[in-house]
């Protein structure tokens, strides 16, 4: 008996001490296991949502697929972990997932004290409000005394508190853990207002019983730059995430699409040559093969293609490019050059 206890205790101690070496080179771990474990939402149409065959699609999903295309030359080598807003950072910190691409706002606390790194911004969002048309509310400033449904563990919860406090308005917050429960509670009339990032409002409006009876108010009360997140302290993996996203944006800027990428590979434009691996050794610099960006564009598409396919004006979400247009076309999307 004592022997068993002793060996168990010893085993636990050793396991506990060894655990410290588990982190570090994510890229090697990913290559060894053969897929990227990607943390996504529990279903946010257009961003990360499983279709009727169980395939995940969305702009957040495309970031993970782009990383898989860069690492393996195969965008399908991704496994998905649906996470609630509350679970997401712990899942990343503990190494359960390799990258978190789950409409997550880049804030200073998260970037520093939480031990995480944001690899860029794949959607510039802002928090908004949705109400029933029947309330006759035209502006968020008329919401004093309203009850507001939202998610726990989000920046949304903090922004709404700031906004109502700054405008000296009363409110009642009703915070649920899962966004489906928030939507259900709002739909049933428990709350007057549903607040989250505006993209999320448009996406979740589709889940309501009568989407046409609800209106998104014009005010945007916060900056919500959403982007993929990795663990701090692994620069190689951080670089890979960062440049996979940048490659998609640069591809759009250079006019390289999934359709014309093979012709473009023969282009004389040195910028396109560098992007598609015909010049320079940029793949080696991030630890993958030199045609990494070619594979991303070929299999996932450039940023604009991903946007239009998942959330653009021809999808049920009908979101305009707005801020998410390229800098050269009036938006603020701007990726550093590949050189």
């Amino acid at each position: 008996m004592t022997k068993t206890i002793l060996s168990v205790a010893l085993g636990l101690t050793v396991a506990g001490l060894l655990a410290s070496t588990a982190s570090a080179a994510t890229l090697d771990d990913v290559k060894a296991k053969g897929f990227i474990q990607c943390g996504v939402s529990q279903g946010l149409p257009g961003f990360s949502n499983p279709d009727d065959q169980g395939n995940w699609t969305g702009v957040d999903v495309d970031v993970c697929r782009a990383m898989a295309a860069a690492v393996f030359g195969d965008a399908s080598k991704v496994k998905y972990t649906p996470l609630s807003a509350k679970e997401r950072f712990t899942a990343l910190q503990s190494g359960e997932i390799d990258v978190l691409s789950r409409n997550t706002t880049w804030t200073m606390t998260r970037d520093t004290a939480l031990g995480l790194n944001f690899a860029g911004v794949n959607y510039y969002d802002g928090q908004g409000f949705m109400v029933r048309k029947s309330l006759g509310v035209a502006s968020a400033l008329e919401l004093s005394g309203a009850s507001v449904c939202t998610n726990t563990g989000t920046t949304t919860e903090l922004n709404v508190a700031d906004y109502f406090r700054a405008n000296k308005m009363e409110y009642e917050i009703v915070a649920f853990e899962k966004s489906d429960e928030v939507v259900a509670a709002y739909d049933a009339g428990r709350c007057d207002v549903y607040t989250t990032d505006q993209s999320g409002l448009y996406a979740n409006r589709l889940k309501l019983t009568n989407p046409d009876e609800h209106v998104v108010l014009p005010e945007i009360i916060s900056k919500e730059p959403l982007g993929p997140v990795v663990r701090q302290g692994d620069d190689q993996w951080f670089n890979l995430a960062k440049w996979s996203l940048n490659a998609m944006i640069n591809a759009e800027e250079l006019g390289v699409t999934s359709e014309n990428v093979d012709e473009m590979a023969n282009s004389d434009n040195p910028e396109i040559k560098r992007l598609l691996g015909k010049e320079g050794e940029f793949g080696a610099a991030i630890g993958v093969s030199n045609d990494w960006a070619y594979q991303i564009v070929k299999q996932v598409g450039n940023y604009g293609e991903s946007f239009e396919r998942n959330i653009g004006v021809n999808t049920p979400l009908e979101i305009k490019r707005g801020l998410n247009q390229l800098w050269s076309k009036g938006g603020i999307l701007y990726a550093p050059p590949i050189r």
Binding site: L17, G115, T152, V160, Y171, I173, A175, E177, G189, R190
Partner: protein
Amino acid sequence: MTVADTPVGTGAPKVAIFNDPKVRGAAIQIVLIALIAFLIYGMVSNAATNLAKAGIASGFGFLNVTAGFGINISPFVEYSETSTYGRVFLVGLQNTLVISIAGIFFATIIGFIVGVARLSSNWVIAKLAYAYVEIMRNIPLLLWIFIWYFSVLRLLPSKSDPINLGPFGLLNIAGYYAPKAVFAGGAGWIGIALIVAIVASFVLSFWAKRRQLATGEQFPVFWTSVAMIVGLPLIAYFLTGMPVSFELPTASRFGPKGGARIYPEFLGLLLALSLYTANYIGEIVRAGIMAISHGQTEAAHALGIRSGPTLRLVVIPQAMRVIIPPLTNQYLNLTKNSSLAVAIAYPDLVSVFAGTTLNQTGQAVEVLLMTMLTYLAISLLTSLLMNWFNAKMALVER
């Protein structure tokens, strides 16, 4: 109690020190304790190193940082968005205690009724109680919470169109808005009258017991006490010129305003917790009563005691000795189960502290440690109280 032998100088057979069972036993225990201590040290220092290496903040400094998010339900602790995370902890603790105490209160009452009803000689009542127990305990608690909150309470009308209960306030999907008592000057006398009535009831029951022992005459203690507890404050109320008024909730654009509000999240959780735990308590009560030999009832009847007093004075006091220990377990279960509140937006300790606070600060180790210790403390305190109660009710052996 045996006195430890003292081998030195008593002429006991000499044993090599490593063959002495006592020395061996002690040595093994010391080694085990040292190993456990090392294990704990290893885990703590490993966690600290890893947190530092991963760049994750640690320490308890976050308790003094402004939380910045709102909490809708906080009946006693004052809270606003400018309060600290330490205050969030208190609010969560308060809400956990409130739901636990309320849940235990209702679960006990319903449980006793169900337990006695199951033993009823009335076929319909017994079968109804039986059906209740079977339905309740065979469906998971989380599902009950969802059923009450997302299905039953959702049948209430919308905020703009509440059910008007007249002088009893309003009821809609956002909760029950009871009239709120507003106290004016002189209202203190009503409170004093109430206290006097309660004290007088105790004195009365003491006196009645003495008198019954001496003369055998009974006194209607219960009804006299009720009359005093209700009557005295009422007399005080009228004598002081009716200083209590009731503020009724009024309609506004976003539903009723004012009044004392009971939130649907609280109501849903309370219904689910108390009805669910009540069926287990009912079974415990039934087992306790059945553990008392039927001879006790027959003997009481033979003495001419009627059925009601037999149950109240003979059976239940004896059954309590069987009931209390498992009852303690149910109370602990209910308290721990209240953490399922997170599913329906009731801001209990797990929801606002182990949930939102953890997420905003990222300090999982500290937050979870505090939460675990808090639940441990609540449970130990409950056990302590129930053990004291058990000792008081136990058979006194002379």
